[in-house]
């Protein structure tokens, strides 16, 4: 502790941060709630998009597979910030008006879905062929094989990369700052602009994201060990 003091660390720092949180608790928890809500919707959507389109790509379903490829390549090769601009400011010119909340979850969902499509495709393609053949041998049709063999195994293979994508989705919700959707980053910065407690505000902001992200990462490690595929496979 004395060495920290020697570095110029001020012990009243913690009480300053705490009083900042206390004084602005309402706005901060509202912002946090919105971040979590948008993230949850986007993650759920990205899961389904990745699952369906990843399966389509892995099984080379005609038309769907090609369209999915275009979707993936466009989203992956353009900045998400420009995608957000497009949804919020560009779409209204063709008559589609979305409010900030909608753009918030939709933008990260579309972004996450593209990356997740690749995650699931890789997962499904990594399922050893002999297992699928075993499914056919047991009398399963195409779809049954998928549901009973490819999906459970491929889904588990895809789990680490999927969760990494979901973590990135949570972090990217911070970009909703540019459309002034009052999620956590926007809220903290607004409070900071009013109270000028820069150090306290950014400490709270950084700490909150790290807690969320580290919790999700710990979740990966937990799931990885518990859902690990048996060595026999």
């Amino acid at each position: 502790m004395s060495s920290l003091l020697a570095l110029g660390f001020d012990p009243s720092f913690f009480s300053d941060v705490w009083s900042f949180v206390d004084a602005n608790a309402d706005e901060l928890q509202a912002g946090l709630r919105r971040t979590l809500l948008v993230s949850a919707i986007a993650i759920a959507g990205a899961f389904f998009i990745g699952l369906v389109l990843g399966a389509a790509r892995a099984h080379r379903v005609p038309v769907v597979s090609q369209l999915a490829a275009v979707y993936v390549e466009v989203i992956r090769n353009t900045p998400i910030l420009v995608q957000i601009f497009f949804l919020f400011y560009g779409l209204p010119q063709i008559g589609v008006r979305l409010e900030a909340f909608t753009v918030a979850w939709l933008a990260v969902m579309i972004w996450g879905g593209a990356f997740n499509t690749e995650n699931f495709r890789a997962g499904f393609e990594a399922v050893p062929a002999r297992l699928r053949e075993a499914g056919f041998a047991l009398g399963f049709g195409g779809i049954s094989t998928f549901l009973n063999v490819t999906l459970p195994i491929g889904g588990r293979i895809a789990l680490p990369s999927s969760i990494n994508t979901y973590i990135s989705v949570v972090k990217n919700t911070s970009l909703m700052y540019v459309i002034s959707y009052p999620e956590l980053t926007t809220t903290v910065l607004q409070v900071q602009a009013l109270t000028l407690q820069t150090v306290e505000a950014f400490t709270v902001l950084a700490a909150t994201y790290l807690i969320i992200v580290w919790t999700l990462s710990a979740l990966i490690r937990f799931l990885e060990s518990h859902l690990a595929l048996p060595k026999a496979l």
Binding site: T78, L81, F86, L205
Partner: protein
């Protein structure tokens, strides 16, 4: 094709200033991220727990924060802490990307180095190499080759993420587009009194796509070739 008159000046501003700054930030960030990241990643493989712990903390910190928050911290927080730590927007953006990128590279390097089979270490030791020699001549060359596909992907990510610098006003490609949009919206003689955000932002997306897509394909090709 007959392009409207305003396109020439806007294109020149966006390409000569915006795009150049985007590529400049990306280049500096990639260089910094690789230098720092490879160093840290290699150091992580040393069996010294405190060192590993510190580097692990660095990696988890800069990978855990959204890049926007990192850049805000450098641009707004650092000057509040010490006056000598003020950076202009482009520099702050580059520093933020270097911190994030180096954390990614460090993690990837650690994985690459640890994926080199133990036999390589043993063979090198048998040939009389010390730790440094072993790593310099046997392990690292192989590890770096495995690092190449993720590094190309990282370059694509860095290029995309330079747009975050727009939020603090750095004149990269997206911001130069935004400034042009604002000028054109103003009535003559300043601008045209017309809104052209759709065209200009579409052009920004197209330029990023044209730069990123070949690199993404390259990463996929390198990945296949190394397996």
């Amino acid at each position: 094709m007959n392009l409207p008159d305003w396109v020439g000046d806007v294109a020149r501003y966006m390409l000569e200033e915006g795009l150049v700054n985007t590529l400049r930030i990306a280049g500096i960030s990639l260089a910094g991220a690789v230098l720092i990241g490879v160093t840290l990643g290699t150091l992580m493989t040393i069996r010294f727990l405190p060192l590993r712990g510190v580097i692990r903390l660095y990696i988890e910190f800069w990978r855990g924060l959204p890049i926007l928050v990192t850049i805000f911290i450098i641009y707004f927080l650092l000057p509040a802490v010490s006056l000598s730590l003020r950076f202009e927007a482009l520099t702050a953006a580059a520093i933020g990307l270097i911190l994030w990128g180096s954390a990614q590279v460090a993690e990837a390097t650690r994985g690459a180095v640890q994926s080199i089979p133990r036999e390589q270490h043993e063979a090198a030791s048998a040939l009389g190499f010390g730790w440094v020699g072993r790593h310099a001549f046997v392990i690292m060359p192989q590890a770096l080759r495995r690092l190449l596909p993720p590094l190309v992907s990282l370059l694509v990510n860095i290029i995309q993420n330079t747009t975050i610098a727009q939020v603090i006003g750095a004149n990269e490609l997206l911001e130069s587009g935004e400034r042009s949009v604002e000028r054109l919206t103003a009535p003559p003689p300043i601008g045209l009194g017309e809104i052209h955000s759709f065209e200009i932002y579409a052009a920004v997306m197209a330029i990023f796509f044209v730069i990123s897509f070949p690199l993404t394909r390259l990463a996929a090709y390198l990945e296949k070739r190394l397996i």
